[in-house]
Symmetry: C2
Subunit: 223 residues, 2 copies
DNA sequence: ATGCAGCCATGAAAATCCTCATCGTCGAAG
DNA sequence: CTTCGACGATGAGGATTTTCATGGCTGCAT
């Protein structure tokens, strides 16, 4: 799989190239938008990692040019800060995912793999149950149309629940997914996290969606 | 490489066995101390992961029996809480490393790999510079004989500095090691972390050990 | 029916970590 | 030597996450 990286900052670019190579991809790096556009038009890449901030031709312009030329490869945007406008603009122009700098490399790798597997996303990825909705890309949740702000852990937990709705999730499973922890009952982080999530997602609404199954774990479903 | 896991709690045991198998090791699991001792005596394993809390024969007894029989394989202890006595007792009995539950699987994997690479530790692993000492196993730091409490990040940072003493560590490198982050200059977490570490390790002592190299990064050394 | 034990919920405090604004300092350039 | 700009230091504030203590509920045993 060939990946093109368009990134002007030397350290970040090298880091990405090396990391992706070590992960078994073929990665090429160019350091400005113009080269990025040319290479991207060549059609030999399966994925494009595109920094928004580039000298000269910026990321948006590169993306626009590629889409205009009918290039359909998946594009992962790198944005400098968590500016909602940036994200939305990128997604509208046809980016398939984005990542806010600074980010963990493992996170990037996960997204790259997802994009390569599923190709270009035609639909924004949305998860929902009853009137609760989660826009995974924009990292935004709403219930009954009301915007809900979530922290990182809350988001991870809710995403897990929504992806597994109707399934009973054991604490050990939740711990391994959300905390990367081998669960050993000497902490109640999970209960507390569930509490926080409930406060935001269930407390002021009906019907309740998060249910406790004594001795087993939790389920998300309509009752 | 064959690894023997002695763990009574089903979930934890299965989790470990599966995780280690997926990482390319051959892992066998037994659920009580007696079986653990017998399998351990068989001599066909390269590493032993041993829970302290076991019904019947506990982890310490198993370890003692193995060492008494002259078995020299590396042993990684799992302790339930961060009880200093437990750690010390385990290490005295001849454990080579320990891990406090709950733990991240990646952490376990890292330790397993270290142990398999270096074999039995004859010496407790200590890092030092001037009158600053760090006992990596006990996760304890002292300077001029005075005990210093460190948080997780502080510990990781200090360990990095001590392992690389005399080397100039660029921010991007520190970020990748301690934060698993792709560094992008829009945050000063590193400066802040250095500040906190200096407050504990350098502020009240002479000579200073952490030095700033403008435009390059930081070094730990005696000046 | 009553009591008990285990499990879970909950609020509050504490710890840790990150962000932000401001200030100081170093070094190059004039 | 002085000035300026960039880089780093620092303190305070805030957000998030974890720990802890307590109390309630459920289902089983008596």
């Amino acid at each position: 799989m060939k990946i093109l990286i368009v990134e002007d900052e030397a350290k970040t670019g090298d880091y990405l190239k090396q990391g992706l190579s070590e992960a078994g991809f073929t990665a090429d790096l160019v350091r400005n938008g113009l080269d990025g556009m040319h290479e991207g038009l060549s059609g030999e890449f399966d994925l494009l990692i595109l920094d928004v901030n580039l000298p000269g031709l910026d990321g948006w312009q590169v993306l626009k040019a590629l889409r205009a030329a009918g290039r359909d490869l998946p594009v992962l945007f790198l944005t400098a800060r968590d500016q909602v406008e940036d994200r939305v603009k990128g997604l509208e122009l046809g980016a398939d995912d984005y990542l806010v700098k600074p980010f963990a490399f493992s996170e990037l790798l996960a997204r790259v793999r997802t994009l390569l597997r599923r190709g270009r996303a035609k639909e924004p990825e949305r998860l929902a149950l009853a009137d609760l909705e989660l826009d995974v890309l924009k990292r935004r949740a709403t219930r009954a149309g009301q915007r809900i702000d979530l922290t990182a852990k809350e988001f991870a937990l809710l995403e897990l629940f929504l992806r597994r709705q109707g399934e009973v999730l054991a604490r050990s499973f939740i711990a391994s997914q959300v905390w990367d922890m081998n669960f050993d009952s000497d902490t109640n982080v999970i209960e507390v996290a569930i509490r926080r999530l409930r406060a935001k997602v269930d407390d002021d609404f009906t019907p309740k969606l998060i249910h406790t199954l004594r001795g087993m774990g939790y389920v998300m479903e309509i009752r």
